[in-house]
Each structure stands twice: as C-alpha cells, then as structure tokens.
C-alpha cells in the first residue's frame, strides 16, 4: 500500500447548506509526501480534513487513510493518524505532561515508552521546564507546540495540520517549518492546509488549490507557477538612446518562445536608462540570447534578472480577488 491518503469523488453537503462544502474531490497522497491544500476561507479544506480524520461523515464518495476506509474502519484510521487543529483543543483539566502521556495511553503506548517519549518531546520542543503547568498558562505558540508534541506521542503514519502557522509569531513559524520538514524526513506523510503561499511553496511537494469545494489544480509548486500565462519573465535594464531601444525590442520579440515584450516606464532620473520585460515560459534560459540581442542592438546592459511567478499569483489567478 503506497498511498497514505486516497480520496475518491468525495462529496459533503451539510444539512440546510445551499451548496456542497466538498464537491466531488479526488486526490491521492503517496506515503512520505507533504501535500498542501490551499484555498480561500470556506473552500472546503477543513471539511476534507474532517472526513479524513473521521470527524465528518461524507455524503458520498470514499476516502481511505493508510489503506483503511474512513467510514468503515474508523478504529484503524484513528490509530494511524494525528491531527493538529486550527484551534487550541488541549485538555485543560490536565497538566501539559499528562496531555502527552494520556494521549499515548489512549493509543496503547506502554507507560515506560510514553514517559520516555514525553521526556524527549518536551525537551526538544522547549516545554520541559513547564511540563507541570496547565495549558491555560501557556502562550499561543507554546500551546501549538504542545499540540504537535501530542500528535507525535503515538507515532502516527499520517499527520494532519490544519492551518498550523495561523496566529504564530515568526520564530514559532520558522520553528514549526523546521519540525515539519524533519518529521517528513523521517517518513511521516503530512497533509497541511494553509493560506500562506510562502509556507506551501517552501514545504509542500504537491499542492492542490481548492475553491467552492472543488480542486482546481493539483501539481508540484513549480508546475503550478507555469499556469500563469507568461508567468516567468526576464527583465533587462539598459542604457540606450531611442533608436537603439527600439532595435532592442525588435530583436527581443524575435527570440524563440517569447510571448510578449513590454517596455517598463523609463527612469525619471536618467533619460537614457530604461527597462523592458520579456515574457516566456523559459525566461531563465533566454538570458544569454537576450544579452546577445542587447549587444547587437548597441545598448549597454545595466542589469538583467529573471522573475518567477509566485504561488500567490497563481492562487489569485485561479480563485479571483473577491473577498470571502
């Protein structure tokens, strides 16, 4: 079984809702992958996590985690997954250390093992000195770390992170990114939802962008960025007179695979300085020929740079700008 998660034509319609929260979604996450679900608020990301973690019953379609159907074999699914939710749902009646050890006990980890594991996780996540506190005294970032430690106490195969870095300070965010990558390095499959494009780009091997309950695209970050027409560009800043500049534009337009060349507003401080932008899916490989064209046109190059599309541009391109 090489699939950690498989979702097939999943539909979820909440009672009294006008439209489906999840509307025929299918995807597969192979073992060992970090898979990102991106989408605006209300796109259906959290519902998908709910179905995969047995908290939401699908209306139709099917889903399996580690080969076990999420509606028919919930015990086996729950045994293999861990969830770090958006909101702090830590057990406030227990001390922090007990939150970890009881969680492990629920999953059948022996006392000796859970004590050892709690020690190592508490030390590693910087919580050891305050392990006997109750969670009410913890900051948001610390509570987040407790939820991560708790998730790891029974050695899950698949970890679900629902907007894990929402409301975290930059230090905690960087710390969490490092943890996620380290855990994935140990073979853990991770499904995360996020609004943070930088986070998705940095962590995920595959990304599905969702809107209105449907997956719009599902690919690697690099492939997704190619979706924006002429999303990659080469920018040239040159010193040239009027005639040379026109000659340069003509030569650039003639280059292979170029979809468009445009002149960017000339510098206000220096009349001779101007910039032009050349769009092509292979912008990076055109640096040599563009430089050659500039020399042949008789202009002096001041700067030449490649600009890649960001995931954010892809996201907005696919889901639009309107507020949710």
């Amino acid at each position: 079984m090489n699939q950690a998660i498989s979702v097939d034509r999943l539909v979820k319609c909440y009672p009294k809702a006008k439209s489906n929260a999840v509307d025929g979604v299918s995807f597969i996450v192979p073992r060992g992958e970090i898979f990102g679900l991106l989408g605006p608020n209300g796109a259906g990301k959290t519902t998908i996590i709910g179905v995969l973690t047995t908290a939401v019953l699908p209306t139709s379609g099917s889903a399996a985690v580690a080969g076990h159907d999420v509606t028919r074999d919930q015990i086996r699914v729950k045994q293999r997954i861990a969830v770090v939710p958006q909101q702090n749902n830590l057990d406030r009646s227990l001390r922090v250390r007990e939150i970890l050890t009881f969680h492990a006990a629920y999953h059948g980890v022996s006392k000796r093992e859970r004590d050892a594991l709690a020690d190592s996780l508490l030390k590693e996540l910087g919580l050891y000195d305050r392990q006997m506190d109750k969670v009410a005294r913890y900051s948001g970032g610390m509570a987040q770390r407790v939820m991560i430690a708790r998730a790891l106490m029974h050695e899950p195969e698949v970890l679900f992170l629902d907007e894990p870095t929402n409301n975290l300070d930059p230090q905690s965010r960087l710390f969490l990114w490092d943890r996620i990558q380290a855990l994935n390095g140990r073979g853990l499959t991770i499904l995360l939802t996020t609004h943070d494009m930088h986070e998705a780009d940095r962590l995920c091997q595959k990304i599905a962008i969702m809107d209105h309950g449907k997956i719009l695209v599902n690919d690697t970050p690099a492939e997704l960025k190619k979706l924006i027409p002429g999303g990659n560009a080469l920018e040239l800043q040159v010193e040239a007179g009027e005639a040379e500049r026109r000659e340069l534009l003509r030569r650039l337009e003639a280059l292979p695979s170029v979809t468009k060349v445009e002149e960017v507003a000339p510098s206000e401080t220096d009349d001779d300085l101007s910039s032009c932008r050349l769009y092509s899916v292979q912008a990076g490989s055109l640096v040599g020929s563009a430089a050659q064209a500039a020399i042949e046109a008789g202009v002096r190059i001041r700067d030449i740079s490649v600009r890649n599309a960001t995931l954010e541009e892809v996201f907005i391109y696919l889901t639009g700008r309107h507020l949710r």
Partner: protein, 282 residues
C-alpha cells in the same frame, strides 16, 4: 528531530493489535483520565456532594424528630431518599459539567474522539464514570449518617446485594440523564437548567416521603411516577428500611423499580448518544 526512544516492535505490535483490544485499552485509559481528575478535586467533590445531605439529615433526621415535629422512625425512611438523591446528583453533575466543557468552543473532547475506539464508547465511558461517581457519593452518606443520626441510624443488612444494585442503577440513571442534559443544553443555559430540572426532581422524587404514603393525594402520587428518582428512592427504601418500625409503609414493587430504571437508563442513553453523536460527528 531526534528519534524517539520507542522500539519498533512495540509500535508494530500496536498496529497488529485487534480492534477490540485497542478499544478496550482506550476506554480504560479515558476512564483513568477521569478518575485522576476527580482524585485531584476530591475535597471539592466531597464538599459539593455532602453539604446538602448533611443538613437534610441533621434537620429532618435529628432536629425535627427531636422537637416532636416528625415521628421517630422518620430518619430511617429519610435516609434512603438522601442516598438516592445524592447518588443521582453526583452522577448528573459528573457527566453534565465536564460534557459542557468538552463540547464547548475549545472542543477538549477531540483528543478522546481520536483515540482508537468507537464514538459511542466515548459516551459510554462518561456514563460509567458518572455511575461510579454517584455510587461513591452514596457510599460517603453512610458514615456521615451514622455520625449525625446516632441511635436513630437504622439500615437492614439482609439486602446488601440489592442495596449495591440500587446504588449503581441510581448512578447510571443520573449519568444518562446528565448525558442528555449535557449534550442538549448550551453552556450559557446550564445553571438555568439545573434550577429548572433539579428543584422539581428533588421534591417529586419520593426522597422525603415513601411513595405509598401519597395515596391520600392520589394525583400527586401518580405524578411522582414520572420522576426516575422516585424509583431510585423506593428501591433504596426497599433495600434499607426494616419493615418493622418504619410505619409499615410498603415500597413500590422492586421488580417494577428495576424494570422502570432499566428502561429509563436505556432510553436516556439512547437519546443522549444520539445528541452526543450529533455534536461530535458532522
């Protein structure tokens, strides 16, 4: 991240464990959690569960008979009612209040719902815990009654088995009612519900009078049959009161009592489980 100290074999053996053994283990661990938390709040729990019975026993069992406003045998008839009420209250509170927290905004129950056991078993654990809590409160009444009532303390010893059964059934009745309240009523209305439910429950539950004595007020006697506490009090009266010296009041037929309580427990658990599932699974 440094690798944890777990040996692969134990993690692998957990994966091979049967669903039943996983679920039983999780159930027992969740029950352990509840016991640990209660143990930590034992003094609070005892104060909460004992203050009311203490005053009832003192005023109704000692003072009123002492000044001639109640008959001498009243304490013996009153004690089963007090045991019944205390067990029922402790059980209801032991399920309702934690449930309101668990299902509240923070959803603290999620971690237990994600443990490898069926959702209904998480609810069943709460009922079992509530039953224990009720039984423990009932057990605490006896030494207190000996101290307060002195020579008036009188409990028959030939029906101890039935007494234990009745205490457990009373606890289970309270626990399932608690589950129903805790899953239906929203947090902000809980104190209102306690006032609205508990006051009629206490005073129509045959706690302070034997059911047979209500024959003179027939409509009220029939009304009390709608209160589960009536069956608990009468069942305990049957198990505790010596027939001589109690005014000779017969109790409700013990078979009717047991049947009514089993039906009540079944119905409340069924209803409570339905609302519980609605709250935790979408």
């Amino acid at each position: 991240m440094s690798s944890p100290a777990l040996s692969l074999s134990s993690a692998a053996s957990r994966l091979e464990a049967s669903r039943l053994s996983l679920a039983l283990n999780a159930f027992q661990a969740i029950l352990h959690r509840d016991l640990v938390i209660t143990g930590r709040e034992l003094v609070q729990f005892l104060l909460q569960a004992m203050i009311q019975p203490l005053f009832f026993l003192f005023i109704f069992g000692k003072v009123l008979p002492g000044i001639g406003l109640a008959a001498g045998g009243f304490a013996a008839l009153l004690l089963p009612g007090i045991v019944s009420l205390s067990a029922m209250m402790a059980a209801i509170q032991g399920v309702t209040l934690p449930l309101v927290l668990d299902l509240g905004f923070a959803r603290e129950i999620d971690d237990r719902l994600l443990a490898p056991l069926p959702v209904w078993a998480v609810a069943a654990e709460k009922v079992l815990f509530g039953t224990f809590r009720g039984a423990f409160a009932a057990a605490c009444i006896f030494p207190m009654a000996v101290l307060i009532l002195g020579p008036a303390f009188s409990v028959r010893t030939d029906r101890i088995g039935m007494l234990v059964l009745m205490v457990l059934l009373t606890g289970a009745t309270g626990a399932t009612i608690g589950m129903l309240i805790g899953t239906i009523v929203r947090a902000e209305f809980i104190s209102l519900m306690f006032a609205l439910i508990f006051t009629p429950l206490i005073f129509t539950g045959c706690t302070y009078y034997p059911w047979a004595a209500l024959a003179r007020i027939r409509w009220f006697q029939i009304l009390t049959l709608a209160n589960p506490l009536t069956y608990c009090s009468e069942g305990l009266r049957y198990s505790m009161v010596k027939s001589a010296g109690s005014g000779g009041w017969p109790t409700l037929d013990i078979r009717v009592v047991i049947a009514a309580l089993l039906v009540g427990i079944g119905a409340c658990f069924y209803g409570g489980l339905r609302t519980f599932k609605k709250r935790v699974v979408n």
